[in-house]
């Protein structure tokens, strides 16, 4: 594997000379698993986004693809949201973890065989099985779609998922938790450890407990997963990527270790209560709703701190942010993190909530979070690890195109849904007939469905940019070798 190391030195010429030296850690990296998970992630992204597109089209053309169980709006929506978190984000996180954990911990992940078992179990036992079961929707309780948001995959799949989450903790936490050369634990490692531990605990609380205690109590618990999936799984791992990519791409240290730590602990302190703000004005006790609101405000201020720390780490690097694609992707995601979090804190307040609850405003918000924040940062992470994985180079042109397409599509979708939400909320508060709000939403749903075109094209461009071989590129720009090409390709570029 040693010839790959040189390739990484010659790469990247856009930025300052990188102090990245292919040291010992690289030899510990499981390149095969990085590739496999990256490939699964990108496939998951396209499939899950296509599900979302079909759901969006159905709002405009209800008869589109109608008549089959698998193509009803309900299953399609579940397959979209579950596909995004389990198929796309989780696989991308795993790919990044196989890349980063050995570098952060100075030792290999627990076991390569465990890695491949986890890969198979996750993709076949969780993602594919989940999609199939939701599509056929068997009548049996154990195999049927679960009526719980963000954990709609059937109970059978939930069990496999929880098992996999435990395996993930076993795979990645030991190499991180034992300090490398007495060097302490880097902030990314904190986030990885925290995210994996909390997810392992929060997932059963939010997706099994509601089945045992039905009714409003169960709903309150399911709210914990709806938001903990975002706050204690996606957010920590995405922030781990951001804290990793920023200093590596700029060669400049993080602004403040102290801010990193405060940001980390406050996130885990204030987040767990946040979940129930999904049930403001509902049949759960007012004290729980109010506590969730108070916690949401505190979380907003924590996010300000985290974003401040990340942005200050880029001081003086504006032109690099513009030129360097992984950095630009991650930077954009971090900006959206700030916007979406402040929006979220405001939304939790009752006067705002009564206006936007159940409207498309919320759908705009969730896309700003999952597509704007999580996906942008994660795509940046994938681009970065593509650049730094043996024999791989991303294709600058395609990735730049992907960036603008996805950003454009997301902006259209977000603005469109936000306006639609305000209009719907106003009509409902005015007591207008339901049908009137449906009619008023039509043009906005059309635009939203159309916004899927640039977004999907952007994803395709990203995939091309990391998989297509571009032999003609000049050597002085980033040499491009497909991320997913067979490992033998390395030799010719080494």
């Amino acid at each position: 594997m040693t010839e790959e190391l040189d390739a990484s030195k010659t790469g990247h010429s856009d930025g300052p000379p990188l102090s990245f030296v292919a040291g010992a850690p690289l030899a510990l990296v499981e390149t095969g698993l990085i590739r496999a998970h990256a490939f699964a992630a990108l496939a998951g992204l396209i499939i899950a986004a296509s599900f979302g597109t079909v759901a969006a089209i159905k709002l405009v053309q209800p008869d589109f693809l109608s008549g089959q169980v698998w193509s009803t709006w309900g299953s399609i929506r579940a397959n979209h949201t579950q596909g995004i978190i389990f198929g796309w984000l989780s696989n991308a996180f795993l790919s990044f973890l196989y890349f980063a954990v050995p570098r952060l911990g100075g030792r290999p992940v627990t076991s390569r065989r465990l890695g491949w078992s986890l890969f198979a179990l996750w993709n076949f036992g969780v993602v594919l099985l989940g999609w199939v079961l939701v599509s056929v929707n068997l009548p049996n309780y154990f195999w049927a779609i679960k009526p719980l948001e963000w954990t709609e995959f059937p109970l059978a799949v939930t069990c496999v998922t929880e098992f996999c989450l435990v395996l993930m903790a076993l795979q990645f936490i030991p190499p991180l938790a034992r300090k490398p050369n007495n060097d302490g634990i880097y902030v990314s490692s904190w986030y990885i450890i925290g995210g994996l531990v909390f997810t392992m605990l929060a997932f059963p609380v939010g997706s099994l407990v509601p089945l045992l205690v039905p009714g409003a109590i169960g709903a309150a618990f399911s709210g914990l997963w709806i938001h903990d999936a975002v706050g204690l799984y996606v957010t920590p791992l995405v922030l781990a990527i951001a804290y990793f990519v920023f200093p590596v791409r700029t060669g400049q240290p993080i602004y403040s270790h102290f801010l990193s730590m405060i940001g980390f602990w406050l996130l885990f302190f204030s987040y767990p209560l946040n979940g129930t703000h999904h049930y403001v004005y509902s049949a759960i006790p007012m004290d729980t709703q109010r506590a969730a609101i108070a916690a949401s405000i505190i979380t907003g201020f924590d996010v300000i701190l985290v974003v401040l720390n990340l942005m200050m780490s880029l001081r003086g690097q504006a032109s690099l942010v513009r030129r360097d694609l992984p950095l630009r992707f991650v930077w954009t995601g971090v900006v959206m993190y700030l916007v979406v979090s402040l929006q979220g804190s405001l939304q939790a307040l009752m006067p705002v909530q009564r206006y936007v609850h159940f409207t498309d405003w919320v759908i705009g918000h969730s896309h700003l979070a999952m597509l704007g924040f999580a996906t942008f940062v994660t795509l940046g992470g994938v681009a970065h690890l593509c650049q730094r994985t043996a024999g791989c180079r991303y294709h600058h042109g395609y990735l730049n195109l992907a960036y603008w397409l996805i950003l454009g599509g997301l902006t259209i979708m977000f603005v469109d849904l936000t306006i639609a939400g305000l209009i719907q909320g106003q009509l409902w508060i005015d007591g207008a007939p339901w049908m009137e709000s449906v009619r008023a939403s039509q043009p906005y749903w059309l635009v939203r469905a159309a916004s899927a075109v640039p977004i999907l094209l952007g994803f395709v461009a990203f995939i091309l940019g990391t998989t297509i071989r571009d032999e003609n590129r000049r050597v002085d720009t980033n040499r491009h070798v497909p991320l997913l090409a067979a490992p033998t390709a390395q030799a010719s570029h080494g």
């Binding site: 209560l273 505190i298 401040l308």
Partner: protein
């Protein structure tokens, strides 16, 4: 107001659980920050730790503006929980409840709209139906409560009757329509009518006969055989001449208006398996005034039948409605337990 604190969360446990987490979380955040005040920093220098050759962190302190802003959020959270019902069964200093907010808004709406509802409630259906303002209000109500079944144009759908034609299963006079909306109706056709031992061929025969009554294509030999089965199997409900019975909601089979369409297969299916259909009751949910407006709206859609002249229409209308308290327009929502 007799609002009681009732919910699924019957034991105190969950309240205490949330109280503890909230207070420990909020105060913990504050204390945690306070304790960090004594940490020493070396601005501009890294912590000395390096990972993977490039990953390092400076040792800069927390900006003071942020620190104070965060203390303010902690104070905000505590004040918030004192003012509003956020700590167990403590109702908050402002005595705010979601129920109270709802009641206040409904009261305001009642005060605003009661005179208008009252005005129409005193008029008879045909007068109200002629009033454009009432028609508009009726349409809004219809679009909100009825359109999902009868369609926004009230023309119905398979299994849901068209309300704009002059064909009524339950009668089209103001009284009858009002009764339908207030009390709802259940329509049941038993499988194979009153002759459950019919075989598939006999069902086809009787369907052929029914089709022949409204001039639909049918096999005349079958229709002849069906005619003999009809009195025993169907007449009890649809009547000896198949003209139906509006008092019990049995549809007229000779009028060329079909709830489930005029295809032979659909009829065979219906007669073989029976039909169960329900128009929900709206009286309790909407209250008399809204039902009155809806009746006028439906009656005025084109198919309304004038009441028989024997009964003085105004008197009949008024007797049932006069003196109804307007508060009943919006029945208080049931307390969930």
């Amino acid at each position: 107001m007799d609002f009681k604190y009732t919910n699924d969360f019957v034991s105190n446990f969950w309240s205490m659980y949330v109280v503890v987490i909230s207070l420990v979380g909020i105060i913990g955040c504050g204390v945690f920050l306070w304790m960090q005040g004594s940490v020493k920093h070396n601005p501009g220098q890294t912590t000395g730790h390096v990972w993977d050759e490039t990953l390092a962190e400076y040792s800069n302190p927390l900006p003071n503006w942020w620190r104070w802003m965060f203390y303010i959020t902690v104070v905000f959270a505590l004040v918030y929980l004192v003012l509003f019902p956020g700590l167990g069964t403590f109702n908050g200093k402002l005595d705010w409840t979601a129920r109270g907010q709802y009641d206040a808004e409904m009261k305001k709406a009642d005060e605003q709209y009661a005179p208008i509802f009252n005005k129409f409630l005193k008029q008879d259906i045909m007068t109200v139906a002629a009033n454009p303002e009432a028609k508009e209000m009726g349409q809004r109500l219809f679009l909100t409560y009825c359109a999902q079944c009868h369609g926004s144009d009230a023309k119905g759908a398979k299994g849901f009757p068209n309300l704009t034609d002059s064909d009524w299963m339950w009668g089209g006079t103001p009284d009858k329509i009002k009764e339908t909306i207030t009390k709802g109706h259940d329509a049941v056709m038993t499988p194979k009518g009153t002759k459950p031992d019919m075989d598939a061929e006999q069902v086809k025969d009787v369907v052929a006969y029914v089709r022949s009554l409204s001039g639909l294509s049918s096999d005349s030999i079958r229709a002849q055989r069906g005619k003999e089965l009809y009195p025993q199997a169907c007449a009890a409900c649809h009547g000896p001449e198949a003209k139906g019975n509006q008092d019990a909601g049995y549809p007229n089979l000779t009028d060329k208006v079909w709830l489930y369409g005029s295809s032979e297969a659909e009829m065979i299916y219906g007669v073989t398996n029976g039909r169960i259909n329900r128009m929900p009751a709206w009286g309790d949910f909407l209250g008399e005034a809204k039902v009155h407006l809806l009746t006028a709206y439906v009656w005025g859609l084109g198919g309304g039948v004038k009441p028989a002249p024997v009964i003085a229409p105004a008197a009949a209308e008024q007797s049932g409605t006069a003196g109804t308290p307007v508060g009943a327009v919006v029945p208080p929502r049931q307390e969930t337990n």
